[in-house]
């Protein structure tokens, strides 16, 4: 067990390290070289000594432009390890860490709420579909779920914006809360936040509940047909007991794994919805930074998203053995259940959501 | 010339570990056109033996020789000759045929590979191979998938795949234990007739003494336990006069299709103890044997010759003989 935890921790650390490295090389060595580009642009603005320019660049990117690459790399790693992600190119007075920390709560609120709603809705629907899987209604729901999961979430966002925000003015177009309220634990503020959240959350839910429903249906059906369920019925156990302890538990296990994993992926998938609704989360800042070539903010956002995914993975890996005795027991197989499973929260795609958990 | 020889072969599935070997010091000779049956409970190493003979693994220790050549040293043409000459028929015809490959494509590629057919007439050759095992190999049949065949038909296809290469030795690993009663004898008879017409030798692996007696009536039986050969001898001799208590136990435990005889045999049965792990020292059966004495628990028994090639590893084969006699294993009433 200790070895298992150590292996998982080491794996997570390796990924984070790798992403930081990728991020360094992208900024430093890719065509166009962001660092020299910034240097050049500062020089062309004039009014700064070469030392000042170097100083400015190193504050923004965390590396001294003309030192050897390995030294730049080491200092970059050191900075990141201390939580210093540099400063925004556009607005050098603002640190990247500050921007990201300001954006993070909004993304967590948006993604967390949307994920919970679509998870609960989807698994409930999926379980119902599995129970009444021969009925016409099930086929209809299954059809709707398939269509919904195939539609890209940004298109739903656009339609919602167009229909409910711009045309009819039912909901606000942008922002996380109204400019008229002061942030704080006031009713007005919370109400405003919820009001602003309705559309972006809906955009998520509409496009992701179908994936959950289909995955839950597949998982439940394979459990319903499992031999141990028939045996439990032959023991004369009550329907409620069979449903809860035999079908329910076993079909929910993979869903719980997927939920934790989606948490990470939804943060990544938030870029479109946040951008369209001008919702000040991580995704919004990522796209802002991309469009304005603000590489330090861009890489900061990317690193944070990766860390979110890594943490979610780590959480699943560490927590799963507690729920599923088949993992991390001497006779158990490989620990990582994830990966083989479809991840419906990934957005409109999510290959494998059709193939079901059995595949 | 020996067809196949095992010289003190031992095998561990996880090399380098001090764990129990799947096979321990097994020596065995198979002559051309001979039937050698291997009997034992599940986990006794009989399947491992079959896989080693078929060349799926190399033994951890000891030597396997095919036509007096060590398998390890086979190269090029000789290796190909061995691959063609030793074939395997599995137990489960549902698992041994690739569900995504048609019957024709199951048989043909190896025929082409070994030069028994050319690419353009591989279909005809495959049909001929299927015909030889009693299947009506129409072109339509060649295009079918395994799931469209019955269990008996599938096992015939698996046999056709093995014998189509004109092998000299076929390892049949529980090849009939999953078949229906009415089909089983037909498949056993097919294997026996192939032996007669094609000079085949068989390593016939089974846990059922009934099937073994029928199939290996003119051959030899090897009884295995925990990877060790505890008794071997000519079929009738071994069944009539079993010398190892484990053999007696196996023989007594096979029910026969005769209620009166079953009842009678039951009265004198040896007590049945299922073993977990074998004992660390001494005879591998000593912790389950009703006749075990101190010497059995401490010292590995020697191999005793009882004449006519009947050999046993036991300290007190006499006791087993008496126990076997009293249950009237072979003397019909």
């Amino acid at each position: 067990m200790v070895a298992y935890v150590a292996r998982r921790l080491a794996g997570a650390a390796a990924v984070v390290y790798l992403v930081v490295t990728i991020s360094f090389f992208m900024v430093r060595l890719m065509p166009g070289n962001a660092v020299s580009a910034l240097e050049a642009s500062l020089r062309s603005q004039g009014g700064m000594t070469p030392q000042e320019i170097q100083q400015q660049v190193s504050e923004i990117y965390g590396v001294m432009p003309h030192s050897p690459v390995w030294r730049q790399y080491l200092s970059y790693i050191g900075n990141v390890a201390r939580g210093d992600l540099g400063r925004s190119v556009l607005n050098p007075s603002e640190s990247v860490a500050h921007i990201i920390l300001g954006a993070l709560p909004w993304t967590i609120f948006l993604v967390g709420t949307a994920l919970m709603i679509s998870f609960v809705l989807g698994t409930a629907l999926g379980a119902a579909m599995a129970m009444f899987r021969t009925s016409r209604l099930c086929q209809l729901v299954s059809f709707i779920a398939s269509v919904a999961s195939a539609v890209p979430n940004y298109l739903v966002a656009i339609v919602l914006l167009y229909e409910l925000a711009d045309m009819h003015r039912f909901f606000p177009v942008s922002g996380a809360y109204s400019v008229n309220v002061r942030p704080g634990w006031s009713l007005a503020f919370i109400g405003s936040v919820l009001y602003h959240g309705v559309l972006p959350i809906s955009a998520y839910v509409v496009t992701s509940f179908g994936g959950w429903a289909l995955a839950m249906k597949g998982s439940s059906v394979s459990c319903l047909e499992a031999e141990y369920v028939r045996v439990a019925k032959a023991w004369g156990l009550s329907d409620w007991r069979v449903t809860r302890s035999y079908v329910g538990r076993n079909s929910m296990l993979p869903m719980v794994t997927m939920l934790a994993l989606s948490l990470g992926f939804m943060v990544g998938g938030s870029v479109f919805v946040e951008t369209y609704f001008s919702y000040p989360g991580i995704g919004y800042y990522l796209i802002q930074a991309v469009n304005s070539r603000d590489y330090s903010v861009m890489m900061g956002c990317f690193m944070l998203i990766t860390v979110a995914v890594v943490l979610a993975n780590l959480f699943v890996d560490l927590f799963y053995p507690l729920v599923d005795p088949r993992i991390a027991r001497p006779r158990g197989g490989r620990a990582s259940v994830p990966g083989a499973l479809p991840v419906p929260g990934k957005g409109a795609q999510g290959p494998g959501s059709l193939v079901g958990v059995e595949a | 010339m020996n067809l196949l020889e095992l010289r003190r072969v031992s095998h561990w599935y996880r090399p380098g570990e001090a764990s129990r070997p799947a096979l321990r010091d097994v020596s065995l000779l198979i002559a051309p056109n001979e039937v050698v049956a291997v009997v034992g409970e599940s986990g006794c190493g009989k399947t491992t033996l079959g896989k080693l003979v078929a060349g799926l693994y190399s033994p951890s220790a000891g030597e396997i020789l095919f036509e007096d050549q060590p398998l390890r040293s086979l190269q090029g043409r000789n290796k190909k000759h061995y691959r063609r000459s030793v074939q395997l028929v599995h137990q489960d015809p549902y698992a041994s045929l690739n569900p995504a490959v048609t019957i024709g494509d199951t048989i043909a590629p190896a025929l082409v590979h070994h030069g028994l057919a050319r690419r353009h007439n591989a279909g005809v050759a495959a049909a001929r191979a299927l015909g030889a095992v009693g299947l009506d190999a129409t072109p339509e049949f060649l295009d079918r998938y395994p799931h469209q065949l019955s269990g008996g038909q599938r096992q015939r296809v698996a046999i056709a795949r093995a014998v189509s290469l004109e092998p000299s030795l076929v390892v049949a690993d529980e090849a009939t234990s999953m078949l229906d009663v009415s089909v089983r004898v037909a498949v056993l008879d097919l294997l026996l007739s192939l032996k007669q017409h094609r000079e085949l030798a068989y390593l016939f692996i089974s846990h059922d003494f009934g099937v073994v007696r029928y199939f290996a009536r003119a051959g030899r039986i090897i009884v295995m336990l925990y990877g060790v050969v505890v008794e071997e001898g000519p079929t009738e001799q071994l069944i009539a006069n079993p010398l190892h208590p484990y053999t007696v136990l196996l023989l007594q435990s096979v029910p026969v299709p005769d209620p009166a005889r079953n009842e009678q045999r039951r009265r004198d049965q040896l007590p049945l103890v299922l073993g977990g792990a074998p004992p660390e020292r001494g005879c591998v059966f000593s912790n389950r044997c009703p006749f075990a004495t101190e010497v059995c628990r401490t010292t590995t028994p020697p191999r005793v010759e009882a004449g006519l090639g009947h050999k046993v590893r036991c300290w007190s084969p006499r006791a087993a003989l008496d126990a076997g006699r009293s249950t009237q294993l072979s003397h019909s009433t």
Binding site: Y154, V271, P351, V355 | H114
Partner: protein
């Protein structure tokens, strides 16, 4: 192969949604190949041609520059499909190759490849694609396809590996080994037919995934605009203020409908394949 097609046809006949999906996919493919020969969006000859509503001459009206919207969609099919199919092809090729090698060979090769796969599985795909696209800023469909498949292959590789692992132990593979068939033949003739169906389904879903990401890149303006495509159409419709007026709503919604119909069609067609290749369902 003939049998598979016949079965596919049988399933499509009983599953209307799958049939419709298959037909739509084929139609889109035809349009992608022939599109530029069939239609031309035209251009602004006079301001009177701009922002027209649907008519016989312009079934979906015209955009603010006087281009025919329907023709733009037809012409815009090719770049979208091309990149989608290319990206899915790259994904499937790498995924299957890595998965089969890793699973069948096992040992050190497997351990090394799987570490790489694990890392790529963990890195969030979409943000990475956006970041790379922003940095490389390519106009080449091949490079774009490579960028789009940068992480997608890992999931397939993992799935194919686990299948190859169990297939390696399968008795029919043992039989092929006993017969002395060479490694290449075993992989191609024994393993591939078994993972093939899964891969085919994955391919279709990968196309939808790639198109989702690709259109998204154009929408966000991350990928440089080159000629007509659906994402660019939506993007320019929005920047022309389509969100705030009802006059250009057709211009905004038509390319979106084109994408949605294609994505849904792919998903339903993939479902038919799933039925086709699932022996349990097939036998019924």
């Amino acid at each position: 192969m003939r049998r598979a097609l016949r079965d596919l046809w049988r399933i499509c006949r009983s599953d209307k949604a799958a049939l419709a999906g298959g037909l739509v996919v084929v139609l889109y493919l035809l349009v992608a190949v022939l599109g530029p020969y069939l239609a031309s969006p035209g251009g602004l000859q006079s301001p009177a041609n701009a922002n027209l509503g649907p008519s016989l001459q312009h079934p979906l009206g015209t955009d603010p520059l006087g281009h025919d919207v329907f023709a733009s969609i037809v012409v815009g099919t090719r770049p979208v499909m091309l990149v989608g199919v290319l990206a899915a092809g790259i994904t499937v090729f790498i995924g299957v190759a890595v998965g089969l090698l890793s699973g069948y060979l096992g040992g050190l090769v497997d351990a090394a490849l799987m570490r790489v796969v694990d890392i790529f599985l963990t890195i969030p795909g979409l943000p990475l694609i956006i970041v790379i696209a922003a940095i490389v800023h390519t106009t080449s469909p091949v490079v774009l396809a490579v960028v789009l498949s940068v992480t997608a292959w890992a999931g397939l590789a993992r799935a194919v590996r686990s299948q190859a692992l169990s297939l390696r132990e399968a008795e029919f593979v043992e039989a092929a080994r006993v017969q002395g068939l060479p490694l290449g033949q075993i992989i191609v003739r024994q393993l591939l037919p078994n993972v093939g169906p899964y891969v085919a389904i994955h391919f279709l879903l990968d196309v939808t995934g790639a198109i989702y990401a690709e259109v998204g890149l154009f929408l966000l303006g991350v990928a440089p605009i080159t000629g007509t495509n659906w994402g660019e159409m939506i993007n320019s419709a929005m920047s022309e203020g389509a969100l705030y007026s009802s006059s250009s709503v057709v211009y905004l919604l038509s390319p979106m409908a084109a994408i949605v119909v294609l994505q849904v069609a792919f998903v339903f067609f993939a479902r038919a394949l799933d039925t086709l290749f699932n022996p349990r369902l097939r036998s019924q």
